[in-house]
């Protein structure tokens, strides 16, 4: 729905976003950070630990990653409101929880690229001529 008067601004924004990344996503990320700051300290520490793990192994950026952080904030805000003990939220094996959580969102670019490379190499080794499907999703 591009009207003439909007066009210069949207072009400017397009250009800007090439330089800075999506402004909408930055806004969502700042909003997420502000929500986390409001949490009681032990919940905030737990969220920041999850966040650090996700930064390493989760989706790199984009709308998928923003949805992930918002879902994460939802979980811990609810937990804090209910006074749910941290262990009851993340379980005895926090890795199991964080991996189950992360699996819902797009792969990190590094993992996605390596998975593609691996699947392609196996297809070549198996003598298949049709290229396998792109598994970046």
């Amino acid at each position: 729905m591009a009207t003439g008067s909007n066009e210069p601004k949207s072009r400017y924004l397009q250009y800007l976003e090439v330089v800075t990344g999506s402004l909408e996503e930055k806004k969502r990320y700042r909003h997420y950070k502000a929500r986390i700051k409001q949490l009681p300290e032990n919940y905030r520490i737990a969220v920041e630990a999850v966040e650090r793990y996700l930064m390493h192994f989760g989706p790199a950026d984009g709308a998928g990653a923003m949805a992930m952080y918002e879902d994460l904030a939802d979980l811990f805000e609810q937990g804090a409101a209910d006074r749910t003990p941290i262990r009851d939220i993340v379980g005895d094996d926090p890795i199991e929880f964080v991996e189950a959580f992360m699996a819902n969102y797009p792969l990190g670019q590094y993992r996605a690229r390596e998975r593609n490379r691996f699947a392609n190499a196996i297809a070549r080794a198996a003598g298949e001529t049709t290229p396998p499907q792109d598994r970046t999703e």
């Binding site: 209910d82 929880f97 189950a100 959580f101 699996a103």
Partner: protein
């Protein structure tokens, strides 16, 4: 709950949660509490939450946000037609698996 039970539960938790939702809509905490009552005492609320996010993404449940007295609005999950279909398939697969395992235990094949 031992390690083996935890491992075996992983593959079936989705079906279990859908089965719980087939009787009535519920929010995350209620589902976790019900699982704990039924003996799945080690289940983490976050793991159940991750599973709920997944079945929501796959369109197996409908979600309604209901205001709560304290904290953010709660997401109430209810099974939709696609979820019901999936649950039926889960039970069929479960019956197949249970039958085969029983045969193995009895030493037949």
């Amino acid at each position: 709950m031992g390690k083996l039970a935890t491992e075996m539960l992983k593959g079936t938790l989705e079906g279990i949660v859908l089965a719980i939702l087939s009787s009535r809509p519920a929010y995350g905490y209620e589902i976790t509490a019900q699982l704990r009552d039924q003996g799945f005492s080690d289940i983490a609320e976050g793991t159940v939450y991750a599973l709920l996010v997944r079945i929501e993404q796959r369109g197996l449940v409908d979600v309604e946000k209901v205001p709560s007295e304290k904290g953010p609005p709660r997401k109430v999950y209810s099974l939709n037609d696609q979820g019901r279909e999936y649950l039926e398939e889960f039970w069929r697969t479960w019956s197949f698996l249970a039958e085969r395992l029983e045969q193995l235990r009895e030493g037949g094949n």
